[in-house]
Symmetry: D5
Subunit: 145 residues, 10 copies
């Protein structure tokens, strides 16, 4: 997906005063997933891509491009944006602990990042609201061969 397409989508989204959340609600899919599709980090099946394009008043060529399998390039090995870095830091600080807890529960294998979904919620808290991110991936057992 080209940068130009992404700009077109962002401009349309601003013009129509839409958020990823409202797009998600109208389309019936996760805001974070739709955002990832529009950034070229995922592809949408054509009918969903068409709904996204329609909502943004963009043409069918946009829908077609959103349904193509993108090459996913992370722009930075270590992300510098403070919000994204905190996620990277959590992987660094807790990665080995997560690994051990999952292995104790499931045996050797991984949590899939492909058969995977995610939700993001605001958790009200009197000391300051909290961000809750739920990662949900199928456990894949390492194959014995």
């Amino acid at each position: 997906m080209s940068n130009q397409l992404y700009s077109t989508i962002l401009t349309a989204k601003k013009t129509k005063k839409l958020t990823w959340k409202t797009i998600g609600e109208k389309i019936g899919h996760s805001p974070v997933w739709i955002a990832s599709v529009c950034q070229g980090m995922n592809s949408a099946p054509l009918p969903i891509a068409q709904k996204i394009a329609a909502l943004l008043d963009l043409d069918d060529e946009v829908a077609r491009q959103l349904s193509e399998c993108p090459t996913k390039i992370f722009p930075q090995t270590v992300p510098t944006d403070p919000l994204i870095y905190r996620l990277y830091e959590i992987v660094g600080v807790y990665g080995q602990s997560i690994k051990q807890v999952i292995h104790e529960e499931f045996g050797d294998g991984i949590m899939s990042a492909i058969d995977f979904s995610m939700t993001i919620d605001r958790i009200p808290d009197s000391k300051g609201d909290r961000v809750q991110i739920v990662l949900n991936g199928k456990f894949l057992s390492s194959k014995v061969f």
Copy 2:
């Protein structure tokens, strides 16, 4: 925290046939957090550190060390272990999308990785059980100064 201490803890844990989960239940704290303390990625308040040491039949010097503020070194900039890499990949693929969804909800700022907690659960599923990781961090608003 020294590697030697970590080995001592792992050996004690195996000898006593404990898992992080059972240690967590007995201590009343999260398994993944206790594992991170024992790996030198977090520190425990002394009374909790003493409970961990007692459960493992280790002496007070161990407790004291678990309560010291460790220097947290991630051993690899890009983790190669498949389980940990999948987490890194999720940050790479979804980081920008997570950022946008959080900013739409909360404004500019971050999800703290310090005022932060995490749970890991098994979600039964007929097509194969799933791993659910819940990240929960306080939203910190960027300061205007």
Copy 3:
């Protein structure tokens, strides 16, 4: 924020013979923070963004862009500019010492870089004036969970 916007702002600032310090005084906010907003390293609440734009005789679209949450990309992992490198060197030389002194005073945790402010001053000195940079961030205690 685009590079083009940054150029526009710098050109306007030169034309009007403004410095970050004078902009800061007129707006009532810190010069270094305003500079960071104009470089896409921070966002300003819309009313402040509008004041900045007005001072520079730039239109509301500029104000709107200054109020968007930017993705903060550091252009160099190790900065080469001599002035910025000296700051990096201070972190390298004193980082571990700062860490220990803070932990002794506050316990485990960090100085926030988000709930954070900074001032820069000239300290007259007969052997040559000095630069004083004051960093001020909320202490965040590592959560026990």
Copy 4:
């Protein structure tokens, strides 16, 4: 300076229940600077080194080593410890802004990291105490030649 010497110092410091702050008060020098000397990131003039050694009940060979010019190696290009990373992040996010504000005030040059001192203080705050780090370095003007 060897790692072994550093361990010896840390052990002596723990045994005598000293903090860098109390050592600083007794020696009449900055806690963060003394900590940096003991970590091999700075050297102390011999009389001061002897006071440090004496306070820790360590012999003259230790004092001699603390007074040698160390080779300063930063162990990580990008620090991973959360406390130290936040300092690195501040350099990344604000480095260019600091540069511009200093240049407007002083002209071309740098803040020295050698003719330099630092203090760390706790600033009480009803919303949570804050860490204040003051960096103070001589301005060095770029030479015209």
Copy 5:
């Protein structure tokens, strides 16, 4: 898994004049997979681990260690050994082509490296025998959420 264990296994294997191929035939599993288990790049279910240990006249502690979930560290980001580099080069030269051909056949998703097996064979050829490596992984479809 420790390097020491790996040395013990290699020594036992040499003493008994076994190859990975003969071990594979006796155990009833793939030679390359058994080699990967013995190098700490995979784990074996305990009964298989016990067969491996028995074949090498090693004790049950070895079997237990071969059945633990290892942390998989690749020693080099870009491998320098000529044989392994050629595999890396194939990924570099053909990766994008493989991606497109798989996406045309299966849609968006990946070939799993966990639900995965591999065989290595000698293909006789009059111009010089050939190595044939067969990679076989489950296709995982990217989840729409």
Copy 6:
């Protein structure tokens, strides 16, 4: 080969609703190899290049360029695209095991990545179809000199 040529080829391929597989069948060569030629990772002998160009209704200049020896640049040392990363991970996890199994069978040397071919197939499987990639390279014996 220029990016512009690659775009031209991809556009022509889409317009004519061709896949690499159908192009392969019509040309009588491997889809993955043809894709690699069109991406500038291989060159085709002129007659084959002309067939590819003809099938895409592109002119002789395209054929000529497809027959030139390209400089093969891998865009990323560690690929981030999930599909390509899995291949990289397989090299990391199994590289040393593959090396040992090949050496046991053939002696010292390598599997050529130049006198080399590859096929990709779908293997039907009731638990989910599988991707099978067959790598086939001439064994080259290390020269004694």
Copy 7:
């Protein structure tokens, strides 16, 4: 400073058949320093910048830009140009020796790279002329605080 400005300067310099040496003689400053100013690695006080611009028949806007404080970006961490690499190699091979000899003479501190000048000369030699580069920087003593 923009690349465009640098091109403009180089073109003017060629057209007027000037060398850095002749410019240096006419301006009364060092050739290597003037070259560094024109490359955006240093700034010149406005009157000197005006003399440089006048000599090259360039306008006052050029002078103004040459007097701005540039952000100094080294294009390569390890320089590949053979002439520049040899300088890098000298730092690598002799850096630690230079450090020890300076510390023996001056105590702990550095040779400033800011309060610094340099000359380059040809030293006639019957076995082949030699390049002599003289580096001259103020010694800065590490501050005790």
Copy 8:
């Protein structure tokens, strides 16, 4: 050369209260060159190596090792020690300028880092003494072939 040998030399040098400068004067060679030999960054002809060993009361095996051709490994791609970094910074800031001035004077080629010598001197200065480093290398003309 082993680290152990280097330690032996440094210890002997301290015991005998020698500096590189005094060793240089007694041996009749440059202090910085002798220091580089003792650090394994250069080799000395055997007679000179024997003089160095004799002066330090070390045996002939030390002399023999100092006369062997060492493999020169720079421990850090970008040096972090402040004194050595300043030298690296000078190469970064002035490298391109030095290159142009040398090419104008000598034509295409390099200053040799092998047929090369160096002196370090203290230059008294009322505003603070200065370090002067003189680099002197044979100009090697790029060969036309």
Copy 9:
């Protein structure tokens, strides 16, 4: 040298159906050296540059540019093109051995890469023709100073 100039040269070379070898024969210089000049990795004395330009029907400005001292930038630290990588691999596999054999023959020093030439030849061989690359550089003895 600009990329545009290189393209111009390549286009002219193709149009005139010249190879580096035929250009070399006509000019009386090495094909690989002429290719390196045209790629901006070497400069040619003006009369030779003019011969190259004339042969390609290009104007004097091209000749002038080919005679300028270029800044030599290697595009990749580790080359990925298979042909160039094999050369890099030879340096990696045999570098230390080459070093020892040269030192045994010549003493401490290097083979110059500046006072250097190279030839490339086809060596007929019944088992497949071979490429022979001859590197020829002046031995430079490390200076004792």
Copy 10:
């Protein structure tokens, strides 16, 4: 191959006052190849390995180890030793030119680094003797498939 084995070989070689050249002459193989075998960068067929061991008065276990297929690790991505760096620089400066000259002569493919040999000779020259390194590798044609 272990570092310990390499030390043993080097010690034996010094004790017996052998050079790689004399070992090569006695064994009837290339000095640089034998050196590479002894450094763990190649393996020797067992009979040759036994001759090497015998010449050095080392036992059969050494011979056996020299005949094992080593994992070839280059210690540095960019070599810093001046002699080895010059070889790396030649690949960087001339790699693309070598590539084009070989492709013009042989078509697409590579010079093998496995079916490969090398000689090193001293070429007497009145202006200073020269090092001549001859690389000789089989041309491998890229396979069309």
